[in-house]
């Protein structure tokens, strides 16, 4: 029998998640659940003046795969620009998780990325915001 999906790193992250918590206020936050099981993941992100991820936190409840994935993803996006976050490829996250997943479990693994992207896309582009405020000021 092969338990490779529960290799050490996944269990470690399940026991000791990274970046767990909430940021209030944040530049963007988003929360969504996995319709398969009702698990919830929330991600809060603060950007620095260069529009890069300065701080990120996630919270929620879920299986080892969704929790490990949220830890790995939030670790990985630190310092990324908003555009990079929006373009973050799901293949990269699956690679970070690094264990073979069945179709149902891929959904668990990608839940955090879905939440992150929904948040990142829902956030008006700071460049545009700045221009708009400049325009109104003019």
């Amino acid at each position: 029998m092969d338990e490779s999906i529960y290799r050490e790193q996944i269990i470690d992250l399940y026991e000791h998640p990274l970046n767990y918590g909430k940021l209030e206020p944040a530049d963007f936050s988003y929360e969504e659940d996995n319709p398969l099981c009702g698990d919830v993941v929330r991600i809060d992100v603060r950007l620095d003046e260069n529009n890069r991820v300065a701080e990120v936190a996630w919270s929620g409840d879920g299986c080892a795969i969704s929790q490990a994935s949220a830890s790995l993803l939030t670790e990985e996006i630190k310092g990324m620009t908003l555009d990079e976050v929006r373009a973050f490829p799901k293949e990269r996250l699956l690679e970070l998780i690094g264990v073979p997943l069945s179709m149902a479990r891929v959904k668990c693994a990608l839940l955090s990325l879905k939440v992150l992207k929904a948040g990142a896309y829902g956030m008006p582009d700071p460049e545009i915001l700045r221009k708009q405020t400049n325009q109104t000021e003019e």
Partner: protein, 427 residues
């Protein structure tokens, strides 16, 4: 084949099971139970509450129809159509006897239990529910017995109420007299909870509803497969169940309704077979049950369900129920030895063959995945009962469910596998 070290709660029940019920022989009837999930790992199927496995006779009955007498029903004056129609209608008669319906025209073929609820909500509900009317449900319902009513009350300006459940997963009937009033048009509840396994006091609830003039619909999706059901004894007005949970194929289920109610109801869907006469300016409806069966039906599936009914009848529903009680007793006892494991629902003597549980430190998804490696199929999630889980403060549970082919050895494997899962998670 059963160990004697377990002291059975119901000695005579067990004795009966041991003498009358040969599980090894039953297992041989199910092709899938001979399969290995992974090389060298036989299947331990503990997910019958989601969908049951099919005995060979059911698979063969459907093949036989396609191979030898495939034709449409009620539409041809030729040998094959006649044979197909006889098989399709013959199944209906056996289903009627199986649940003791007064007449076979009270058996409406639908796709599944879900469609049965939608049919009643759409047809009876739209014709009878007015603003301010109330429909009473319980907090332990499957989504199939919640959402169709939510759609209906939204449209009609009516009101939904819910009977709460106690901590042990039984219904809290202390407030029933406040919830069931002269405003209540319908009380729709499950006979058996698909999460707690609670066997609800159907007859008592039916009588209470009738006393205030409300109709009753019973969700029998988890009852008809597992115990003898008698709709006339229950005196329910409507009842729905699915074939795929009772050794039959998917794609077919049954709505039972009392004849006078069904006759008064407008059709659900329009089309072929459900009409008597169609003119360009209007149509008249066919007799029951065909009024509700528009279009070419699931013919092979109805025949398959009829064969499943024969299969279950031959074994005896009381024997099947007794076997499941024995297994449930054994399982609850065995599961209680796993540290951190909590089973939801009432004790075994009030419970059907369902054990929904949580295991401290292990998410149900992870439990299910780890058990799968040992060939054990259980379900993890909210089991289409999100309000129930919400009330328990849980997103999900793991659920093992048992059927006529479940053995004590399979329960032992489940427990060993759970211990192993805990070890992998360093618990």
């Amino acid at each position: 084949m059963y160990g004697f070290f377990l002291v059975p709660a119901d000695f005579f029940g067990i004795f009966w099971v041991m003498t009358m019920f040969d599980v090894d022989k039953i297992r041989a009837d199910f092709p899938v139970l001979q399969e290995e999930v992974y090389p060298g790992v036989p299947l331990v199927y503990l997910d019958s509450a989601a969908s049951s496995q099919k005995p060979l006779v059911v698979i063969e009955a459907m093949n036989e129809y396609y191979r030898r007498y495939n034709a449409n029903v009620h539409r041809g004056i030729h040998r094959l159509s006649e044979e197909a129609t006889n098989a399709y209608e013959g199944a209906r008669e056996r289903i009627a006897r199986f649940i003791n319906a007064a007449e076979s025209c009270e058996i409406i073929y639908v796709r599944n239990a879900t469609e049965g609820f939608n049919l009643v909500a759409y047809s009876w509900g739209r014709a009878n529910i007015k603003p301010g009317d109330e429909i009473l449900l319980t907090e332990m319902e499957h989504h199939a017995n919640i959402v169709p009513w939510q759609l209906l009350v939204q449209e009609k300006g009516a009101v939904l109420r819910y009977v709460p459940f106690n901590e042990d997963g039984t219904l809290d009937l202390s407030s029933l007299s406040e919830l069931l009033t002269e405003r209540t048009r319908l009380f729709s509840f499950t006979a058996v909870s698909n999460v707690f396994g609670t066997i609800n006091p159907v007859k008592q609830l039916v009588d209470a509803a009738h006393a205030v003039g409300a109709l009753v619909m019973v969700d029998a999706a988890q009852a008809v497969p597992h115990m003898a059901v008698d709709v006339q004894a229950w005196d329910c007005d409507f009842m729905a169940f699915s074939s795929h949970k009772m050794c039959g194929p998917t794609g077919i289920g049954v709505l039972y309704g009392k004849r006078e109610l069904l006759e008064a109801m407008p059709p659900f869907m329009g089309g072929g077979d459900m009409i008597r006469r169609v003119r360009l300016d209007g149509s008249t409806w066919n007799d029951l049950p065909w009024k509700f069966e528009a279009g070419t039906p699931s013919i092979a599936e109805a025949i398959g369900l009829g064969t499943a009914v024969d299969y279950l009848t031959n074994l005896g529903m009381d024997n099947i129920h007794a076997h499941e009680q024995f297994i449930t007793n054994y399982a609850l006892e065995a599961l209680s030895e796993v540290p951190g494991l909590k089973v939801y629902g009432p004790p075994a003597n009030q419970k059907a063959g369902v054990a929904a549980f949580t295991l401290k430190g292990l998410h149900p998804h992870d439990i299910s995945e780890l058990l799968d490696k040992d060939g054990i199929a259980i379900r993890a999630g909210h089991h289409c009962a999100m309000p129930l889980h919400h009330k328990l403060g849980l997103a999900a549970t793991a659920r093992a469910s048992f059927y006529l082919h479940t053995t004590t050895q399979e329960i032992d494997k489940l427990v060993i596998s759970l211990h192993r899962a805990r070890k992998i998670f360093r618990l």
